[in-house]
Subunit: 389 residues, 2 copies
Amino acid sequence: MDGSVWEGLLAKAAQVQVPEHLKSRMDRGEKLRVKFGMDPTAPDLHLGHLVVLDVLRDLQEAGHTIVIIVGDHTALIGDPSGRSQTRPVLTPQVVEANARTYFDQIYKVLDPARTEVHGNSEWLSSMDAAGVLQLMGKATLQQVLQREDFAERLRTGSPIGAHEILYPFNQAYDSVAVRADLEVGGSDQLFNLLFGREIQRGYSQEPQDIAVFPLLEGRDGSIKMSKSAGNHIGIAEAPAEIYGKIMSIPDHLTERYLRLIGRLPSSEVDRLLTLGPRDAKAALALRMVARLHGEDEAVAAEEDFRRRFRAREAPQEMEDHRPAQPDDLTGTMVEAGLASSRGEARRLSQQGGVRINGEKVTEASFSSFENSDVLQVGKRRFVRIRLSE
Amino acid sequence: MDGSVWEGLLAKAAQVQVPEHLKSRMDRGEKLRVKFGMDPTAPDLHLGHLVVLDVLRDLQEAGHTIVIIVGDHTALIGDPSGRSQTRPVLTPQVVEANARTYFDQIYKVLDPARTEVHGNSEWLSSMDAAGVLQLMGKATLQQVLQREDFAERLRTGSPIGAHEILYPFNQAYDSVAVRADLEVGGSDQLFNLLFGREIQRGYSQEPQDIAVFPLLEGRDGSIKMSKSAGNHIGIAEAPAEIYGKIMSIPDHLTERYLRLIGRLPSSEVDRLLTLGPRDAKAALALRMVARLHGEDEAVAAEEDFRRRFRAREAPQEMEDHRPAQPDDLTGTMVEAGLASSRGEARRLSQQGGVRINGEKVTEASFSSFENSDVLQVGKRRFVRIRLSE
């Protein structure tokens, strides 16, 4: 990253609080404790996570300590109401396995030697009822209800388990327990990070500075990359997968991906963007595979992609088609005008004349379309599948 | 009490839930565990508490077990926000002293041998953070926010400490801990008692039945007797005090007091009410002193009252006067037309010609008027002091 850590952080951050305070600490050469939270129910990282991880790496290189908090306390308890799908009970074995998966990925970016790891059960499981009362006494209910998902559910009358009020307190108390100087996260974590400041104040600690970062768009162009939305590109995926998926993102996202996760000097990004949309995207794909799997794998993935996909001359512009039923291959071919009947469609695929993203497909091997899939019949006929608005 | 315990309870209760269930358990001869909560910050009982205590005594006599829960857990922690005047931190010594005061009074009505006593710190102080999360998971925030004081504060934007959400859960969990079959309380406790049912269900216990009882009006006629409002008649007060204070209640409350706390057959109440307002009230006063101090003290208090007060022929009807400054004796006398000047008022009181409720008063011994005080000058001139609307 060009320039100081501070400038790099500021260039990417969606919001920093309190910037002048944070900058002066960095300028004075203070070594900060930088908190970052990990959700042990979702150990699979994707490219969106690199936005923050790259900043953490820069901070490490500048001598700061990254403190990763594994939210194991809640994961081990689970959601006592049983209502929440997002908070399943995990066994200690699963928490440990997930943490292993997570750290295998995160250490592709971070330096383990300068990373401190804690499970928040270290301090939360020994807290007693009086401690919980003390903790909750540090804020008003009205402050907690400002959190967007609570406010929304109150407005719409959808139930909020009373215990859910505890979750922001628990994660905020983590900042107290590790004496965090700075906490970073996605911009969807803004409330939680600010709440950490509030609770630290309640325990007479200097409130942490905070920095939140933009959420990277998914490869379908939708607002947020996430595994559950199926629009993610996983950090642990194979080189060819990463390369091919990046090549499928909408052109207008190439610059955004380059700037947020390319980890390139901005002058280099500017240069790549002059190459035109397809080549800029290919440079991004090459760069990302190189970051995650090394240069050799990146070059191999590029060659493989060119051979398999470009050779078939998929046009840069093709028509979109929205299938009536995304799990119906032959029906979709008929709808899109790629076959005159289901019978013909079936024959074409049996003869090896139908491809999705360059891979041959038959009714037997097909399960369902994903957004942005390129459906091809023969050498010249293509449509791009669109599933969402 | 006439008839069965069930009929007595039903005659006084403001609400019973679930009545048919409770009645059938009683009819089957089941011995119930009847929960009643005590606030260790307010150990002074007054006549209003007898409404429920008499029901508890009847239940004891029918063989049920009264389980009194001293809310010492919260009292020992106090209010961590320091915002609440109503939840001071108490030392263990103060909690113990208050409990002693409380039980000295309560055992004027209840049989100690059939009363089980617990401090809720027995189960709450050892609860851990996971236990608190489990407990709070048994209800939604929306359910808790139905509690009137929360709803009101949300509406008016006055802060609710997040920890305050825990208090109803704690008291509801007390029902789980003691496996309560029935909980009784004042009608202002309706939410808490219903919430006990909810939380017992959450822990797979059969929900307690509940019965709430009317709040006895204060001796100034206002809606609720309470020490803080200064309109109470204490259970521990001296016979002459109790007698005199009951004689000062508004006539229209005589029947209500007789029926709610007289502990008399309803036919006897009917008979007393035929005597006319003054004699019915005198019978109530005699009855209440007898209940709390015995027959001999009651007769003595009545004789003393008659000698001191009736002998001076305080008229049954007299004018009301609202003092401009209730702590100004001579000014009030001038305002009320009982003296032509402060100088005359001062002379009259120095000569022993001024009485409040039959007691001689001078400027030196006077501190302030209370509502319903009878201010008398000489043998024939009276006004009744009114302080509130």
